[in-house]
Symmetry: C2
Subunit: 375 residues, 2 copies
């Protein structure tokens, strides 16, 4: 294997697939990036067994030569090392050449590296064939669905399905749902074509994919019962799925509300940020809203160790009878941020009932948070 | 104690003294900041027993009122909490009031915090009286002396004196020396007045002080056999000293050189940065320079685990017979950076002899590095 390749294009490929590579992976071969020169150009592959990314650098982009003096072949080399080296080289082009089965040379004329390599046959088979139900979506729409839901998935492996985002396609809609059983996020996106499936994609992987596709005009998604595949530009991504029935939790969305709080998102976030300074448990920062039409809206907290705080939320509008409700401010902050809007509306049913956080102008998206018992 | 104070000025005082405060300090009272309203204004004090910082916010700056409605008194409150709260408040002014011996109120009209406080009598006595040998220096000159030496001090507590920068004043010169026994840095600064002392100031503390004084026109330094005191603007800093004789290591500076390498600092740093990617020991990255007048200058490294690298240093000029020398590139990189110049000159005596790194245009500063035995 041998090629001379534009350094920027190579670096783009290496950093793209590096999202799937873990330098401390228990299976040493997966700490490597797989480079293969074939009829498509240079195929760069990274995998951690759950997530596989392939990026193909073509011989030419428009009429610009990207790869020259190439000979077909394949090699494996440390992803971290090669990416760092290519990032820090100064030449416009880099020549990569397999010297023998244990050595790969990387040279830009000024710097010459000879990196230890291992047998490419040790690398697991990678199958990125287009199969299963498929549809096309813009990268922006898909990234948005992920941004507005994935953070609400659980990070605890006790119930594996809850570490996923549940993606359901029916008719011309794609619905994303995530929950850690204390809160839930749901987002609906319209599709241009019809598809039908119901799968659980690991939230962590989906977040990586969202970063990759967010600026793409078109992402082609294929879904089987084993994996989800994403094709865009010169990149292909494959994610494993999490098996098991996703709980039907959409019924926790209240069908009516007795109290409404309209809030400026920024004012509410800043106030929660300040009072949360007093909480000593980083994962659960319990704060209390005290709301009435006459008395206005106050946010407060109290801790035996540090003290107490009370904030007046002057621009908030409350409708309903007097209500006190306590919640984990981390959850409400994340929900308010996910609305991506200047104003949010929070609907309550009662002191101990789940409440919703929404962007008034967007009925495709809803966040549900469960209150905590007041101190 | 009570006062209403300009929030920016209070924040400046809190962040200044926070450099001396460790939120995990084994002595809980030292996790607090001491606030005292007295005839000078608001005295803000932080200490970790080794380093003490006091900043005084005056009642007025020029004709601008900074503090109003004040009542004398003293309190202790968590430095981390108070600094975070004052940073995140939005009001122009903040009112701080001791409610009772266990509670301090912080209020900006919108937000109201009541922080647990402890008895101010538990705080150790702070004595910042001006005593001992003294001289005046610009903050820039002092910070420069620290920047060019302190990094070479040892971080291992086995030999405590080596964790210090040795400061010696004699006649009209201040000399700073630091060494970890593998390398040494020395810087001489001219003084406007005469002073005489020889003290060891902990390098870590000195680096904090350098950050504080770097933009000051005038720093008044007092030295006793117990502590060094720094007075500038509205801030006073006291550092403990490390007792014990500092080793006389200036004699490792070679009195002649047989080989000279003139290098562009940036080219040399980038090349060392790249080849060091292959080293697997972060603390000791061994690289080799191969130099001859005919063959030019090459930097190389070799590792069983990762591979080998060789760089041509095209703009370097070497004078002398052929020489190969190996060293820890971390040490040489730090030495080259400390020269703060576009070009550096490295003087060698032989393969296993300490060599010097200097800025050609500055004879007040020298770095010495000991080679390592070649692989």
């Amino acid at each position: 294997m041998k090629l001379t390749i534009n350094r920027e294009q190579l670096l783009y490929g290496l950093t793209t697939v590096a999202r799937a590579i873990n330098d401390k992976h228990p299976i040493p071969v997966l700490r490597n990036v797989k480079l293969e020169v074939n009829e498509r150009g240079l195929s760069v592959i990274g995998s951690n067994n759950e997530l596989i990314i392939e990026h193909v650098v073509p011989f030419k982009i428009d009429s610009q030569v990207v790869i020259r003096n190439s000979q077909e072949g394949v090699t494996l080399v440390s992803s971290r090392l090669l990416t760092d080296i290519v990032r820090k080289l100064e030449g416009r082009d880099v020549t990569i050449e397999v010297i023998d089965s244990t050595l790969v040379q990387v040279d830009d004329g000024r710097s010459n590296f000879r990196l230890n390599s291992i047998n490419p046959e040790d690398y697991p088979d990678v199958d990125l064939e287009k199969i299963g139900e498929s549809f096309v979506i813009t990268g922006g729409d898909f990234a948005n669905l992920v941004d507005q839901t994935a953070f609400a998935a659980s990070t605890r492996e006790v119930r594996p399905t809850l570490t996923a985002v549940n993606l359901t396609a029916r008719d011309n809609e794609l619905v994303g749902i995530a929950t850690d059983s204390f809160r839930m996020a749901k987002k609906v996106v319209k599709l241009q074509e019809s598809a039908e499936f119901k799968v659980n994609v690991p939230a962590k992987i989906l977040t990586e994919i969202a970063r990759l596709v967010q600026d793409e005009q078109e992402v082609e998604i294929h879904v089987t019962d084993k994996k989800a595949l994403f094709y865009f530009n010169a990149t292909t991504v494959s994610s494993r799925l999490i098996s098991g029935e996703y709980p039907s939790i959409e019924n926790i969305i209240p069908d009516h509300y007795d109290y409404f709080l309209e809030a400026n998102a920024d004012e509410l976030l800043r106030a929660m940020d300040r009072v949360s300074l007093l909480t000593t448990n980083e994962r659960e920062s319990v704060v209390k809203l005290t709301m009435s039409e006459e008395g206005g809206v106050q946010l407060s907290t109290r801790s035996l160790q540090t003290g107490s705080a009370i904030e007046s939320l002057n621009t908030c509008q409350f409708t309903g009878e007097r209500l006190e409700i306590s919640f984990n401010s981390n959850f409400v902050s994340a929900a308010v941020r996910a609305c991506k809007s200047q104003d949010v509306i929070i609907g309550f049913v009662g002191e101990m009932k789940p409440f919703s956080v929404r962007n008034v102008a967007d009925n495709t998206h809803i966040q549900i948070v469960t209150p905590v018992r007041t101190y």
